[in-house]
Assembly symmetry: C2
């Protein structure tokens, strides 16, 4: 009986997944784009010590890297960067991907352009939607966060981090795009390195930011489709050299 119940549950999940996928395909009609349904990640609390300094820098206009305190450890070690988990793990850059996959069960997708379909946008803050994206020989971490930066006013923040060094991150440009209800919002930037802190990027608002009413306009039945593209950024490098 238990077996049949589990089978029925799995079939229902598949139908739901197929429906979400169909919705995303309808929003992003470009052929060949991979659509990934991302369910929310809940957390009991933020990791308070990891980025306390970065949190204090809100609205200062300066983006402080918050990996200085890591220097007391082996500088080659990276603390766990899965945003909402108070995870004590730390390890070398090369094994961050396998840690995120195995311990935090974060999916990894291949392809230069994918569609990130975040479900259940209505859930209260703080909530994260996280995925890894493998592209151009590197792995990136996309974080969509619902957070109350101003009390009683939840906002959505989306950013992309390279699972690599800041120097490697400078070689790429990522683009996030929302397109629905006769509105289009695009954000393009150089990804930050995972050695920096996602919390400080979000608290500084140096990412794609939307309030809930705008997110509702872009969402379809509680799901938000974000088109993601990653390119190499030789133009940016030549600009920096000028």
């Amino acid at each position: 009986m238990l077996f049949f119940t589990q089978c029925f549950g799995a079939v229902l999940d598949l139908i739901h997944l197929r429906f979400q996928h169909y919705k995303a395909k309808r929003v992003f009609s470009a052929a060949g784009q991979l659509v990934c349904v991302v369910n929310p990640t809940h957390s009991l609390k933020y990791a308070p010590t990891r980025c306390a300094a970065a949190q204090a820098s809100t609205e200062q206009g300066i983006i402080p890297p918050c990996h200085h305190h890591e220097a007391v450890h082996d500088p080659q070690l990276v603390p766990c960067t899965c945003p909402l988990f108070s995870c004590p793990w730390e390890g070398h850059l090369e094994v961050v991907v396998s840690h995120l996959r195995q311990t935090h069960r974060i999916n990894i997708l291949q392809g230069a352009e994918i569609v990130f379909l975040a479900t259940d946008m209505h859930l209260p803050a703080p909530t994260d939607w996280i995925i890894m994206h493998s592209c151009l020989g590197h792995q990136f971490l996309l974080v969509l966060r619902k957070q109350e930066k101003y009390e009683g006013h939840p906002q959505f923040f989306a950013t992309m981090m390279l699972i690599g060094t800041p120097t490697q991150a400078d070689n790429f440009t990522y683009r996030l795009e929302l397109n629905r209800n006769q509105r289009r919002l695009k954000w393009e930037a150089t990804p930050r390195s995972i050695l920096e802190c996602v919390d400080s990027v979000i608290s500084d608002g140096d990412c794609l930011v939307m309030n809930t009413s705008l997110a509702q306009l872009f969402s379809d039945n509680g799901s938000l489709a974000i088109g993601i593209a990653i390119t190499t950024s030789k133009v940016h490098n030549s600009e920096a050299e000028m």
Copy 2:
């Protein structure tokens, strides 16, 4: 002596204007784009009665048109829409442009693509930067507003309104683009009609929104360059019919 002092002042103004223009040209290197330097508009107070209902609708996710109360007057009359002025004027749509030019000294620019260069971004909220844009046989009003939606946290809001009816507005798409410091932010939407209320558009966040730290990243020496493009939106119309 007074004559020479005035001449010297005028020359200084011209040099300043030329410098601002050069800065904008440097930011937006696309040849042939018209750059317009827009100085801030201060106001002693908001017009409290004009859009009180709209202000109350913040974060509801619904964008209420706030011209219902105009029905007590001649419905063909439009109240003065210059955002921060408590102007008692009202008149027909056809004479709104001349009223804004003559009474509020708002400049009007020609061309499908222009660069709006807002100066003195550091000024405290509330501050507006306003310009009219003549394009495709119609006139549009661009409003950039610095406002404290959440106390102590000023934000920048930019939107475009058609000086025409909502039906006419549906035929266009406007695009606002910021591009600097390896970041690019684009917002595309159908302009609202000037018969609706700019205050409600901004309070709902259904426009381009930036916090001050992000605006600083996009600004150059206290000036913010916004590229503006207006097109006809046949694609949107065909989508709506589907």
